[in-house]
């Protein structure tokens, strides 16, 4: 992880100029935004793409025969191509748009869970999942008689691989649904090994890539996973759009999730037939403007390049760990070998909420709470942590501001 960002290819000050919001001041202080893991800020190009559509090229898509509708359809469907290229999907029809990651995982839990999995089979998650990758499987368990298994994690916050393998060994697990990167611990999970072991035991694999795809190049063909879910707003895109990628033959075997316009082939009262994938899973008017915005975000990220982004975040993370760890009373939660730019911590003398408020008073935005991962909190005997998370626009100086701010908070509570 000792890669220092090369300023020739990655000029963070130039990147910051692409994000208008970063010049704001908060409570009279410069805005230090360390909450990108919750949702990232939007570059000018994303704003412009959405404005351009609304100002010059907008109509409903797909069934329109007129010029505006055709142009809008092209712009919207270009988002699907951009996503397919981003993830190295084999086929653009493997890209299903949803409202967010949560919508993608619920789609899978419904259509794969109720349509393909059989009562008595199991779904295996890990001990560091976001609620969005826990609750849909609980609902499936309770309605469909699926067993829900949880692969434990170690004190360092890594997947316990031996336990994971043991949980697969009876062959009952039909689907592994696991985070590709923890939104609390920063842990990047060993995707290759997860997939290899799952497949060897007859299980399909879905990764919750909500965090991972922001920090790492994701190649679904190289990973050889079966499904991959993520959400646009964390990758510098708009809210209201998410992605489920799935292998085409699996998607084709799955029944639809929601019914309505755009997802049908033909409708009579007796029986309806479904459109081909991906449209079978996209009911109603899609998130057209959001697709257009997401494409702009992907183009932006691709122009910077994952290598540069990953290196930048690695440098930030390394610097943050080296600055925070020595602060008296600070304990960092999660010590994974392979980790991304998300750092959770607690302070001995102050509750995480007080820490967040007092950092906010200094203009520094961090998140505090259970981060939609209550079972993971309990695993570490905590109710909440404070969490700093980094984006492409985060600077080493901002990390220093966090460390200095935290020292002040700690002194204040002395």
């Amino acid at each position: 992880m000792n890669v220092m960002t090369n300023p020739a290819v990655f000029d963070v000050e130039r990147i910051r100029q692409d994000f208008p919001i970063l010049t704001q001041t908060i409570r009279g202080k410069p805005f230090v935004f360390l909450d990108s893991a919750a949702s990232a800020q939007k570059p000018r190009v994303v704003i412009d793409a959405m404005v351009h559509a609304m100002e010059t090229q907008y109509a409903n898509v797909h069934r329109g025969l007129h010029w505006m509708s055709e142009r809008t359809t092209e712009a919207y469907e270009a988002a699907r191509d951009a996503v397919a290229a981003l993830m190295n999907a084999n086929d653009r029809s493997e890209i299903v748009f949803t409202g967010n990651s949560t919508g993608a995982i619920n789609l899978l839990a419904h259509s794969y869970g109720r349509g393909i999995l059989k009562p008595g089979q199991a779904v295996l998650i890990s001990g560091m999942e976001h609620h969005s990758n826990i609750v849909p499987w609980q609902l499936l368990r309770d309605s469909h008689g699926i067993e829900l298994r949880v692969a434990p994690i170690t004190d360092a916050g890594e997947l316990d691989m031996a336990a994971y393998e043991a949980l697969l060994s009876d062959g009952k697990v039909g689907l592994v649904a696991m985070t590709h990167m923890s939104n609390v611990l920063g842990t990047v999970t060993p995707a290759d090994r997860i997939v290899r072991l799952a497949h060897a035991n007859g299980a399909k694999v879905m990764f919750d890539g909500s965090q991972a795809i922001v920090h790492r190049k994701v190649d679904v063909q190289a990973l050889d996973c079966d499904f991959y879910a993520w959400t646009g707003h964390k990758l510098y895109g708009p809210t209201g759009i998410g992605v489920l990628w799935g292998k085409r033959d699996l998607l084709e075997r799955m029944p639809p999730f929601m019914g309505g316009g755009d997802m049908i082939s033909s409708v009579t009262y007796e029986q309806s037939t479904w459109a081909a994938v991906p449209h079978k899973f996209e009911a109603g008017t899609p998130a057209i403007l959001e697709g257009i915005g997401l494409k702009a975000a992907i183009d932006y990220v691709q122009a910077i390049g994952y290598d540069a982004m990953t290196a930048h975040e690695a440098a930030l993370t390394e610097h943050a760990l080296s600055r925070l760890a020595p602060i008296e009373g600070v304990r960092i939660i999660g010590q994974a070998q392979d980790r991304g730019g998300v750092i959770s911590f607690v302070l001995d003398k102050a509750h995480a909420h007080d820490v967040a408020t007092l950092l906010d008073r200094q203009g520094i935005a961090v998140r505090a709470g259970h981060h939609c991962a209550e079972p993971l909190m309990h695993r570490f005997n905590l109710d909440s942590t404070a969490r700093a998370s980094f984006g492409i626009y985060t600077t080493l100086a901002e990390v220093d501001a966090l460390a200095d701010g935290l020292i002040r908070v700690r002194e204040f509570f002395q």
Binding site: H353, T357, L358, R361, G369, D383, S384, R408, F413
Partner: protein
């Protein structure tokens, strides 16, 4: 405090009174004998409080509480206990409303003059209104108190 200048910005919410009551609450104890008790729970942030009451004929005799949470919620519980002890039970609901208004808006201009005195005691928490998501940290113990007076087990969340 020699540090006052250094931490000026941090003090507009976390006044010395709050830090002090947050660190060393005077009433943070379960009452062995009590007439009413209720819990308050804020699942969104994990704050949890339980309040115990001894009641006299028309007034609140003694208040004890156990809180798990941030400095704001602990200090608010402690200031609440200090303020309502000995007050007429009928008054308490009006005081809660006044306090809630202050926590949300920073002041309670239309409050009954009779409440001026207790509101002065609670005034250190007025700064919370600038932090909307923290308002419920300050009001949670009050919800538990009112629930206990109503004979409920648990405060319904706001």
């Amino acid at each position: 405090m020699s540090q006052t200048d250094n931490f000026e910005d941090l003090r507009d919410l976390y006044q010395e009174v709050i830090l002090d009551h947050g660190r060393k609450p005077r009433h943070a104890k379960r009452l062995e004998t009590f007439d009413a008790t209720a819990k308050g729970d804020n699942p969104m942030c994990g704050d949890r409080v339980q309040v115990w009451l001894k009641l006299d004929a028309d007034s609140i005799g003694q208040v004890g509480f156990e809180a798990r949470g941030c400095a704001i919620s602990v200090a608010s519980a402690d200031l609440m206990a200090e303020t309502v002890q000995g007050r007429a039970t009928t008054d308490t609901r009006a005081l809660f409303e006044a306090f809630r208004t202050m926590a949300r808006t920073g002041a309670c201009p239309d409050c009954a003059p009779a409440l001026a005195d207790p509101m002065e005691r609670l005034a250190p928490l007025a700064g919370v209104h600038e932090y909307p998501s923290r308002v419920k940290c300050a009001t949670l113990p009050w919800h538990a108190l009112i629930a206990a007076l109503d004979g409920a087990q648990e405060a319904s969340s706001e």
